[in-house]
């Protein structure tokens, strides 16, 4: 029992005694009436005391902060009711010479919270009902060349990859589309690719 509780209980007893004595002076009561009066007074006193004590307990914070809250950002105090033990803010660094710079010091109005106190776990679907079943569209097969055998060709004069090619049997005729180069050459399967020497004046 806390000190405050003892004080409240003691005061209740004293007041009840005083009230009873005063009442007995003002009006004569027989024995049964006196018993009823004492019982009702005791019950009322008990109820008031319990009410006071439990009200007090409800307002007692669970945890007491040890340090002063920072003055740089005061928590909102709600609707004017006496705030109970505010939460403790801490400096994120011990170096007190570093002063925080607040970009947006004013909290915005309370936004809508989706589903607070909403039994979301009873709602369906917990999992999206529409399971993705469609397959990605198959890429259009390329018929113009064998992708597995495709090679990247490079102009041996300017190093450009923008080439036109014509096939004549095993031989290929190339034309570089670089407007600064325009080199033409031929190549046959099995022959070494011409040595590429990139001429800077042709690279555009």
């Amino acid at each position: 029992m806390t000190t405050k509780s003892v004080v409240v209980v003691s005061l209740t007893v004293v007041c009840a005694t005083a009230g009873g004595l005063l009442g007995s002076r003002l009006r004569y009561l027989d024995t049964s009436q006196s018993v009823v009066l004492v019982a009702v007074s005791a019950l009322l006193g008990f109820a008031v005391a319990i009410g006071l004590l439990t009200t007090e307990r409800r307002s007692v914070p669970k945890a007491e902060p040890e340090t002063e809250p920072e003055t740089e950002r005061e928590p909102e105090t709600g609707t004017g009711a006496a705030p109970v033990s505010p939460p403790v803010f801490e400096h994120p660094t011990d170096d007190t010479s570093l002063s925080p710079v607040f970009v947006h010091p004013t909290p915005s109005p309370e936004p809508a919270r989706s589903g607070n106190n909403r039994p979301w776990w009873t709602e369906t679907p917990g999992r999206p009902a529409a399971v993705r079943t469609e397959q990605p569209a198959a890429a259009t097969p390329l018929t113009s060349y064998d992708a597995n055998r495709a090679v990247v060709a490079q102009c041996p004069h300017c190093g450009d990859f923008r080439l036109d090619v014509e096939q004549h049997g095993d031989a290929y005729a190339f034309h570089c589309r670089n407007p600064n180069c325009g080199h033409r050459w031929e190549w046959s399967a099995g022959a070494p690719w011409p040595t590429t020497v990139v001429r800077r004046n042709l690279t555009g």
Partner: protein, 286 residues
């Protein structure tokens, strides 16, 4: 069918939710850092948010891309409505907001402050701050899952093809409100992890902070021998999906099959590394 393979993109963003313990015990000093658990946790959360913003920027000075929706929910001491409970931990313009798109988050830090290095190197840097260190009251973890779960549920319904939501719980103690609304903490976690997208179930990871200097345990695969409350948290934690196992191995962790998204008694720098591993989802195919 492979799950947890969906990469994040602007059309299929991811969702990261951090549950931040703001109970009274977070005032305890964190190892030799001299600062409290609350300060260290807030520092790590601010670091990971900045990290996500930077990774969502593909070019210098380019805007942050909407790769994630992010929510930070604190439980214990409340700031906006003083008392014990659960609330969005964002301050400033974002105060009270649930899930915030990454570009909006990047534009609205609560402050830009000189912050110490998280790995205790003697350097500091100015960095944006979204979350303040706060502590007080008890540990209503169930209620935190209830509140965050509503946001996660709505998000998953709206993003059925995205990588599943990732919920990371940072705490230094055990729940004080179980059972809550007739359900135990295990029940609440089961409800949370039953929220799915087509790519898998919601992931629930736990990071336990200890004020004492004891051995770190990261991504254990067996609850046997774990110090309290390790076995309980192990049961609550989701198995690490393969992409995150790969991430952890790249970061040097010896991750065994069956490893859970759980880290015990971590220090500051490990906390940030675990957050980085837990929030890194598959890269886009190149």
């Amino acid at each position: 069918m492979d799950r947890y393979r969906q990469s994040v993109s602007r059309s299929e963003p991811g969702c990261v939710v951090i549950l931040l313990d703001r109970s009274d015990s977070m005032k305890l000093a964190w190892g030799r850092t001299g600062a409290s658990l609350a300060v260290g946790a807030a520092l790590a959360v601010n670091n990971i948010l900045l990290d996500m913003c930077i990774k969502a920027t593909t070019e210098v000075n380019a805007p942050v891309r909407h790769y994630f929706d992010v929510g930070i929910f604190s439980y214990g001491a409340r700031v906006n409505t003083p008392g014990e409970g659960v609330e969005s931990a964002f301050g400033g313009v974002l105060a009270g907001r649930g899930l915030v798109p990454l570009p909006e988050l990047a534009e609205h830090p609560m402050a830009v402050r000189e912050e110490p290095s998280i790995d205790l190197m003697p350097v500091s840097a100015r960095m944006p701050v979204w979350v303040d260190p706060v502590h007080g009251y008890r540990t209503p973890m169930c209620q935190a899952i209830e509140v965050a779960g509503a946001h996660v549920f709505d998000w998953a319904a709206g993003h059925p093809n995205s990588f599943p939501p990732i919920v990371i719980n940072i705490t230094d103690g055990m729940v004080t409100d179980s059972p809550h609304d007739g359900a135990s903490l295990h029940d609440w976690v089961k409800r949370l992890t039953s929220i799915e997208t087509n790519d898998g179930a919601t992931l629930f990871f736990n990071i336990f902070l200890s004020p004492f200097e004891v051995a770190e345990i990261v991504f254990p695969s067996d609850p046997t021998g774990l110090p309290a409350p390790g076995p309980d948290l192990f049961e609550l934690s989701s198995p690490l999906p393969q992409p995150m196992i790969d991430n952890a191995r790249v970061d040097g962790y010896d991750v065994q099959p069956g490893a859970r998204g759980l880290a015990l008694n971590v220090g500051r720098s490990t906390l940030l590394r675990v957050l980085q591993i837990g929030t890194r989802v598959p890269d886009r195919p190149r």
